[in-house]
Structure formats: structure tokens, C-alpha cells
Symmetry: C2
Subunit: 490 residues, 2 copies
């Protein structure tokens, strides 16, 4: 129930957690750091998957599936990769349990110890490139444009539902190319796919850019990202696309005969988005009444609620409600007529507001006398009467309006939260208030590290098409050629 | 290439393996027992998933996601379950690696030992019922009709691509009900969904029935199954649906307040099919030329191949091919126009035969002069000319014919392979030839075990609506009331 929500003003992170739990999206499981994604949350993820999967396929990609477990030694093949990923991960050491006569439970069978430990994949570059070695021989085998939908695991110490969990669901694209240029083009293409998905479907404005060397993916030569801004002024990395150069090809010895019949190492990219996006979606749009979901990916787009006093009224109301429901279904809109008698209409209003259903249609006996039903839009909380006959058309049009309005509103907030900052004092002051700080930086990892240490702010990205401009580093005062975006981040 | 296939007659199991590899469905990975599902095989799985998922949703189910890892102690909660599943499984004992200065690789950090080991899920009853405990309080929370698409792991000693792998993909439904009757109804409903899917989409005839106590799912009170027959005369369990009684509710203390306000244990079912189905599909239909795939789930339904001598002919041929392709796409048919110049048409014919593409349309310059193109159906290997203008309609009609013919053919083979056997001598003789042996059995686990020991045959199922008939057990000679189906099985 909406009443149980902590408000954003009271405690933003508690508000977030309450919302995820109370709207029935997910909950913590009894396994440390692993969440259960509940049906309402999973349907949201399925809707996101469908759109993304279509976008991947339209850009020429196919899906495949690679093993969950990775031999430990694979992780050490690429020198940077191992530093990034071989730390906190789940390690499989045995393959059998046996009965324990003492406890009547089971214990690990010490005789069933693996010769080489296996790691639950934190990401799949190593297992995939060890496989690509057998698939790629000549330029005719390239490009290889493969995506995988999978679960992955990183043993995070501090976890938060959707935002940072030990196990999460994601997709990871792994492509192989003949040339550096083609791989770079793919890296850029996919960050653009992510940006389009975030903005057009999630109504979440994002800034596209590249990461600094410090923030790059372990094993990448360049990492492109989309960065979103949450309502509390913190940034969220919403998707990344990596140009891996020939690093993994060299680590796994993947060479191909080029058109000149010479052996060359293959060029690679990888890119991914995860269930983390759901966290970003929630924190971009939701309010103190609950979730606000964009119509294009909402699990339930329209709910119809009846109001009546007696069986005769219920019959009239139901007839209209069912007619509207049928017409909406024909337009491929997900709609529910909630005629459960055990819940009052007031309770239902609250419940669907909490769940962020974009449009509510209330069919009430009294309004029907005037040939009207009530529309309610979740994003602005406005409601008004419309002619029963035009309810379907108005609902369809309203969904588009809501989708657009949510993006415009989020973008206005985001744009107003980008601050050009030129002095260190200003920086320290502004970072406490949140938002992106657009400032000059001297380009060194030392300064980046120092700023992070002092303020918890990191460089989120160097935006694409960033204007070149002479200036002085906001921290060190050394010369700089461009501004970059700092923020505290999730 | 088709030439590399071992024939079924030479070596059936080698034929199967060659086919999986050469048609590009899957391959073994470098991780013992775990396969890589290649794009062509994965697309097949996606097509199967889409149909099944729609069938699940139409029968009122929703999807959710539960943790990959299960605390070791959960497995011991249900006494029978632990015996079945706590044996060969992947055990996570540590959560961190650290750099090894000696080898420059990584070693398991002994300090990062888990207090309680975690098991990679072999099936999810235990983690799901530990979760349902918090979701179910009153009859209003029931029924709970949830499905999960996931990877699972069972440390099999002898593995075969798709048929038996350490890691496999599947769906597992887990439902909770107020009454025994309702749970039994669900168990039956889902085995019927599986049977419908197998027969209508995979064109694979199945026998529905129940398992004997010996062959039951560990923790179930009753297991329903669908059993198919492979071309080598061995049976394959293609799907199971379990009535779990109150076993898991009691093990995890899941009670609900019924309408009379009394606490009762919840009734449960679980049901699943896996990537194993792909193995069954292959062995039901394929031949010595390669895969034969039913049009309804084929990754590629139609391939168009051009034949020409010069650029002028290529232009004419391409125009017709593109027109046909466009018209087929409009009818939602998956079609590829393979105009690659680096491969000869003969090579392409073999390749798509190997891949089991149901219909091939050859657009040749010479045929075009008579206004004709050639159709080829993969199931019967027949080809004939049709008017260019009717090619699309004929192709669409042909796909239905192929789908039906594949089922009819497989069913005729299956029906001819069910043998009524009344003596032990006959049994021993027939079991070597394969097929289902429909015989009397005295109903004891001892006899079942003895027959298995002597012949490797198991009771595949007691068919639903099995006629009651007095007789004598084929092995013990003791009285029996019905016949059951024995077979050697995958």
C-alpha cells in the first residue's frame, strides 16, 4: 500500500527500497546478495528484453549460449581483465555432496575436488574468446555478431536491489571483426542502440561518452557509456560498449587469414546492459505515490476499475468495462479489468498508483449516466471525464503523451542538473547538492583519484562531440583542453 | 557438409553427434560436460521458448526469477529430494580469488571461505518454496502460478550434446494451490500443454502417462510424463509434470489460512522441459542427409537459391527471388535469399539440407524462361517446378503439409514400434530390437529393478487411460492388472 512508502525527502534510499518491495518488483533472497525478481518486476524485464532483442537482431546480431562456469586459469590470460574480475567471484571447487550420518544433512565430498576450480561467470569474454578461436579461421568467418542473455555473478559486498546484486541478469554482446575501424564502428553502433532504447522506451535521457582510462572496462582499449541522472542528483551508468582492440584475440590466440592470405589478430567489442536498468528506471521517474512507468514497457499499461453500488449497476458498469477492455486488447494494449469484489475501489486506486500503471480508467455507474468514464494519468496524477465512446482513442493517444511527457520532464531535470563549475570551492559545494559537474580536468589519473578521494565524485564520461576549449583543471589548475562530467554515482 | 555425416546405419550415436556439430547446433566447451549452444541451435531453442511461453501465459502463468545458488542445507529439508539431487552438483565454497605471485595467475583465497556452501541449482523447488513461505499467507494468495526460464546444473558423468549435459537450459514451473484436487488438475494440465507442444510444433508424437514410484521425481507424490520414441528404438522422456503433494510445503513450513480460517499446508506442482527436447527433435526426424526440422519451429523456414551463368541472368533471377522473399516475409515466414557468390549452388543445396531447412526455392535462369521456379521439400526430398506466380502460395501450403507429414510419419514409426509382449523370452528378444514393450508387470519395484538389471529396460510410463486387463507379469509371472510400457531410454 502506498501509505507504507517512505518519501523521497525523508530518505531517498529507503524510498527506493520500499518502492521495489511494495510494488512487488523484487526482494532479497535468503542467499546473500542475490535477489528474487518477482513476477511484476520480471514482466518489466521481459518487456525490456523484447525491445532490446529486436534492436540487436535488426542490427545483424544473433543469440547464442556459452557455459556458466569458466576455468580459473582463463581469467588470468588477459592481464588487465584478471585484475578487474578475478577478485570477488563465486568459486566452484567440488562437484559432489554426500550424506552426513551425524547431522542427517549433506556435506561436501572431499574426494570430489575439481582439478581446476571453476568460476561462476562475472562476464564471458574469456570463455567466449576461447570458443571463438575454433570458429574463426578466415576473413569469411567475420564479422561474428553474437549476443547472449544470461545470469552473471559478482560477489559484491554491499548490495541493493537491481542496482548492485551478486547475481544479476543481463545481455552481453561479443563481436569479432577484421579491422580496427569496423570494431570501433560496432562499439559506437551499440552504445547508440542503448541510448535509443533508454530514451525512446525507458523515457530516460542519457549522455553518451567515453570513460577515462581509470574507469574503463578491465581489458578494453576504450569504453563508451551512457550515463543517466537520478532524482537525488547521483549518476547511474546505464550501459557500456567496449572496444577491446586485439587484447582478447591475443590472449586466446584468435587469428584469421585476411584477404591477402596473411594471419592477423581479430578485433573485438563487447557490450552489455543488465537488470540494473530497472533501478535506473525507478529512480528516474517514480514519486512518493509509487512507481511511474513509461507506457512502452509497463507490464500493465491500462487498468479498468469499476465503481457501483448494487448488482444492477455492476452489470451496466461491467458491460462498458469489458467493451473498452476488448477494444484496447485489439490494439495490442495490455489491460486488466480489476473487478475483484474483495478489494474496495480506493484500495485499488492506491495499489495501481503504487505499481505505476500509466493509465487508469474508472467506469462508475454515476458517470455512465452521463455517458462518461474517468481517465487518470499516473505521470501527472490528473484525471478527467471523457465520453465513453471516445475512451479507447483517448487512452491510446494518452499513452503516447505520457511516454513523451515523462522523457521531457526527466530531460528538463537532467539538463538543469548539469553545472559548469570552474573553481575547486564551487566543486566541493556543488557536489554536495548533486548533479553533473561539467569542468576542466588535467587528464591525469592522479587528479581523478584525488578528486574521488576528497569528494566521492568520479568522471562519468567525456561526452561525445565534446567542444574543445582551453581552461584550467578545476582541482590542479593545470592546463586542460576540454571539460568532462563529474558526479557521484550509483 | 553432408558428406562428413556418419550414417544412422553405421553408427547411430555418431550420426547424432556429427549432425549436432555439422549443422552448427552446438558443441562441447572446454568446461567438462558443458555445451556451447551455437546461434543456429539457440534460434531453434528461442522458437521453442516463444511457443511454450505463450502457452504458459495463456494458461495463467507468469514468469519470475529465483537465485542461481542454493544454500546446501536447503537440499536436505525434503528427505527424498536430497537423495535425488544433492549428489552430483557444483558446489561453491569460496567467494574470492587472489593473485598468485609464483605463477602470475590466481588462486582461491583461503580466507574467503563461505560459512555455508552454496549449490548451483540442479532444480529450484527448495529455493522457491523457501521464498513462497513469505508470499503465501491466506487462500487469497493462491493459486500461485509461476514459471522460470533458467540454466541449471547436474554434474553428469557421461554427457551428450543436448541429451545430457552438466549445464542445460530449461523452464521450471512451480505452482501452489489450496487443494489436492486443484494441484492434480494443474499437474495434468501442464503435461497436456507439453504433449500439445511436442505434437503440434515439434511434430513429435508422445505417450502421456505416469511414472512408477521408482522413476518418480525425488520429492514428488506422482510424476506425469510424455515419452517419445527415437529412430533407433530408444525412448526419450521429453517432459515431466510433478504432483508434489504437501511435501515441500511441509519441508519449508508453508501454510495458509483457508476460507474457514484454519491453517493448512499448501499443495504443489512443478513441471519442466529443457534443451534436451532439441535432442529428441533431431532423433525423431533427421536423416542421413542431415537435420529435418518442422516448419513451425525451424530457425529458417525457407531458403531461396539462385542459379545463373552471367550477370544478366543474375539480375533476372535476383528480381524474382527478391519478390518472392518479400512476399514470404509479409506472411511472417523466415526466409533467406542466399546469393553469396563465394559458394556454388550445389554446396548450398547440401548445406541447407544438412541444416534441415523445410523448403528450398531454386530460382534458375533456365526455369524462369518457362515462368517456373523449383520447390524442394526437405522431409521427402522431392522437388518439382511451379509457376513463379504461385510460388508463394504453394510454399505456404507446403509448410503445413510438411509439418503434418512429419508428424504422421513419426507417429506411424512410433505406433509400429509398440510391441505387446507376453513372455520373458520374447521380451529379451524384442528389447534388443528396440521400441516400446507393452507388457504386464507385477507392480513391484523389485521386478522393475531386476528387469532393468538384466535388460537395461525401464518402465517409461503407465499410460493414461490404460485399459485394465488381467494377466501375468512378463518377468515374475505374478498376477497383474494392466500392461505398462518398457523401453531402453536416453
Amino acid at each position: 500500500m502506498a501509505e507504507q512508502l517512505t518519501t523521497r525527502e525523508e530518505n531517498y534510499s529507503q524510498w527506493y527500497n520500499d518502492l521495489v518491495i511494495n510494488a512487488g518488483l523484487a526482494e532479497n533472497s535468503s542467499v546473500r546478495g542475490c535477489m528474487v525478481i518477482k513476477p511484476y518486476g520480471y514482466t518489466l524485464w521481459e518487456n525490456m528484453q523484447h525491445v532490446l532483442d529486436r534492436m540487436f537482431k535488426r542490427t545483424g546480431h544473433v543469440n547464442a549460449y556459452f557455459p556458466l562456469l569458466i576455468p580459473k586459469s582463463y581469467l588470468s590470460r588477459e592481464a588487465h581483465h584478471v585484475e578487474g574480475f578475478a577478485k570477488e567471484c563465486a568459486v566452484v571447487t567440488h562437484y559432489r555432496l554426500k550424506a552426513d550420518p551425524e547431522t542427517h544433512g549433506v556435506v561436501v565430498d572431499p574426494e570430489a575436488k575439481l582439478e581446476e576450480e571453476l568460476i561462476v561467470r562475472p562476464t564471458s569474454e574469456t570463455i567466449i574468446w576461447s570458443t571463438y578461436k575454433n570458429w574463426i579461421h578466415s576473413y569469411r568467418d567475420l564479422p561474428l555478431l553474437i549476443n547472449q542473455w544470461a545470469n552473471v555473478m559478482r560477489w559484491e559486498m554491499r548490495t541493493r536491489l537491481f542496482l548492485r546484486t551478486a547475481e544479476f541478469l543481463w545481455q552481453e554482446g561479443h563481436t569479432a571483426h577484421q579491422t580496427r575501424e569496423e570494431a570501433l564502428e560496432e562499439t559506437e553502433k551499440m552504445i547508440n542502440v542503448y541510448a535509443e532504447f533508454a530514451e525512446k522506451y525507458m523515457a530516460m535521457p542519457v549522455i553518451r561518452g567515453r570513460k577515462t582510462e581509470t574507469e574503463r572496462f578491465a581489458g578494453a582499449e576504450d569504453t563508451y557509456c551512457i550515463e543517466a541522472l537520478m532524482q537525488d542528483g547521483k549518476a547511474l551508468q546505464a550501459g557500456t560498449s567496449h572496444f577491446l582492440g586485439q587484447n582478447f584475440a591475443k590472449a586466446f590466440d584468435v587469428q584469421f587469414l585476411n584477404k591477402e592470405n596473411k594471419l592477423e589478430y581479430v578485433w573485438a567489442t563487447s557490450w552489455g546492459v543488465s537488470t540494473r536498468l530497472i533501478g535506473g528506471l525507478i529512480m528516474t521517474h517514480s514519486d512518493n505515490n509509487g512507481l511511474v512507468l513509461p507506457p512502452k514497457i509497463a507490464p500493465l499499461q491500462v487498468v479498468i476499475i469499476p465503481i457501483y453500488r448494487n448488482d444492477e449497476q455492476l452489470a451496466q458498469v461491467s458491460e462498458v468495462a469489458e467493451r473498452i477492455k476488448g477494444a484496447l486488447l485489439e490494439r495490442d494494449i495490455t489491460v486488466k479489468f480489476d473487478n475483484r469484489e474483495e478489494y474496495r475501489s480506493g484500495w485499488k486506486f492506491h495499489e495501481y498508483e503504487l505499481q505505476g500503471v500509466p493509465v487508469r480508467i474508472t467506469v462508475g455507474a454515476r458517470d455512465l449516466e452521463q455517458g462518461k468514464v474517468e481517465l487518470f494519468r499516473r505521470d501527472t496524477l490528473e484525471k478527467w471525464l471523457v465520453d465513453t465512446d471516445s475512451a479507447v482513442d483517448e487512452t491510446v493517444a494518452l499513452m503516447d503523451k505520457i511516454q513523451q511527457n515523462m522523457f521531457v520532464k526527466a530531460k528538463a531535470f537532467r539538463d538543469a542538473s548539469i553545472h559548469r563549475v570552474d573553481t575547486w570551492e564551487e566543486f566541493q559545494e556543488q557536489i554536495e547538492k548533486g548533479g553533473f559537474l561539467y569542468c576542466h580536468w588535467d587528464g591525469t589519473a592522479e587528479t581523478e583519484e584525488k578528486i574521488k578521494e576528497l569528494t566521492k565524485a568520479t568522471i562519468r564520461c567525456i561526452p561525445f562531440d565534446n567542444p574543445q576549449e582551453e581552461g584550467r583543471c578545476v582541482y590542479s589548475g593545470r592546463p586542460s583542453h576540454q571539460r568532462v562530467l563529474f558526479a557521484r554515482a550509483y
